[in-house]
Amino acid sequence: MAKELIRFENITKSFEGTTVLKSLNLSIHENEFVTLLGPSGCGKTTTLRILGGFEAPDSGRVIFDGEDITSLPPNKRQLNTVFQKYALFTHMSVADNIAFGLKIRGTDKDVIREKIAYSLKLVGLEGYENRSPSSLSGGQQQRIAIARAIVNEPKVLLLDEPLGALDLKLRQGMQYELIRLKEELGITFVYVTHDQEEALTMSDTVVVMNQGIIQQIGTPEDIYNEPQNAFVADFIGESNLLDGIMVHDCLVSIGGLEMPCVDTGFGENNPVDVVIRPEDVELDAGGKGQTHGTVTSIVFKGVHWEIRVESEIGITFLVQTTEHFPVGSNVGISVDPYNIQIMNKPSREDEQVFDQNESAHGENYES
């Protein structure tokens, strides 16, 4: 792996008595694409702002390239930020926006002109030099914000939900462009999002956070396939999160039905959480399977159908499949042992399953 570039050491931060980050530790390596992922209000932006120098941690240190930069002001840090709300300078032209950082560093005029042209080309907006930011669409503004940051050739680029305001099609296009930029410029990306698909698609490393605590750090595959707790499992994609009892190694009982699995080390007859991804539940029209159930709803999702099956063992399974099963039909249900993921029951609040209403609550800011 490449050399370590950034290290958060035991960062703690609270606002008006509420702890927002709880002794956070995180390493970021050179040319890595790290994504901070988590529900609204979990502290992603705060983490990024501490790295950018806009917020000082209450305790802990930020190490950059071996040096302690905890108290360095933002303008002295070798990193640039693309803000959640673009933060373009509305009273300047696109070119002046991009040239802002270069002018401060006293770059030569001709060089500036070239660099503006180059960076506009990178983001696919050649010829937009003299436009005013407010005459651009959201997507275009976002790309200007990116151009303004990368034109300074920072070692690290921080991006705070840069695609949040864009529609699906534009978002996908920009995702590809960002990956291309990362490869082309060889810089390190620290990316914030609450869109799990975006996180999985773009990152080398995903950091899942909840309530100011890192839940899991890993590659997209790790995070998706081997969630370390119920929160991660539920937040990353849809899943069937079931109560189970570990009969013994490699055998778990769900609602009385014993199913073989591959996990070991959870003891005997201990209560556990069982995660089964919807696409891993296999349905059989003929009724073959470990148990049986009735289709109660089927929704077309384009790539697949999303089906709810009420099973004999009293559990409703969420299933994703490309086959069509009419409502009311009887189907067999089975799951490959490899696709059953066993986890310990949550020990802390922040590991618990993400509850919609609660999270909406957490979003309330004082006004």
């Binding site: 950018g52 120098g53 806009f54 002001p73 933002p74 303008n75 990193l79 640039n80 930020t81 803000f83 959640q84 709300k85 933060a87 373009l88 300078f89 509305t90 009273h91 802002f100 950082g101 401060i104 560093r105 407010s134 959201g138 303004r148 940051a149 300074n152």
Partner: protein, 268 residues
Amino acid sequence: MMAKVLQKTYLILIMLFLYAPIAILIVLSFNASRSRVVWGGFTLEWYTSLVNNSTIMNALWTTFGLALLSAFISSVIGLFGAIGIYSMKKRDYKIMLFWTNIPMINADIVTGIALLLWFVRFLPLGFSSVLLAHVTFNLPYVILCILPKLRDMDIYQYEAALDLGAGEAYAFMRILMPQILPGVLSGFLMAVTMSMDDFVITYFTKGAGVNTLSTLIYGEIRKGIKPEMYALSTVLFFIVLVLLILVNLPYDRLHLNLSSKKSDRETT
């Protein structure tokens, strides 16, 4: 359609209400009689004698100097003051706002005499004492014009500037200033207006030989307003009118809060 006509009529009536007295002043500037209640025929005499009337011209320049200088000083102090107040905690913020409001709710004569009693202890009355007084009563208006703009400003742009390597002062001048400038500008205009109109406070705090148009006009009520005053007012009115129209041209580019309604639809 009927409603449109009614609306237009209403606006015209309001304009008439506001401008009828001004029309009278303009007519009076062409009145050959020295008495405002007697029409003595048409003349341009007052416009020519205006230029030669050193008392009026001196007062005019004093008025302008005082208005611009006091507006400028109060805009600068008010700008920094507003930024400071904006950054304060809620309680301090409220205390500051309370004291900011006080000069506005004090009767002019009370302010004027209080300042007079205070000034004579350390300052010979003169232009400078009037200036201090004007800055004092301008400040609340300036502050109250700037504060809402501060509340509306986009602090992220400032952070973005820091992020791109700008120092705090540079980021402030280049990024925040343009955003709150309309507020500063309206505060400035408000201050100019207040300063030009004030008589009582000016009277008590001015030194011998210092006159503004207001103090002159006040003195003249006794013997009848000099027709040159009407001529001067007329000239000023049209100068201001032209200036305002000129100033107005780039006005829409300054992103003033009038456009906020429209911009709601823009961000999707």
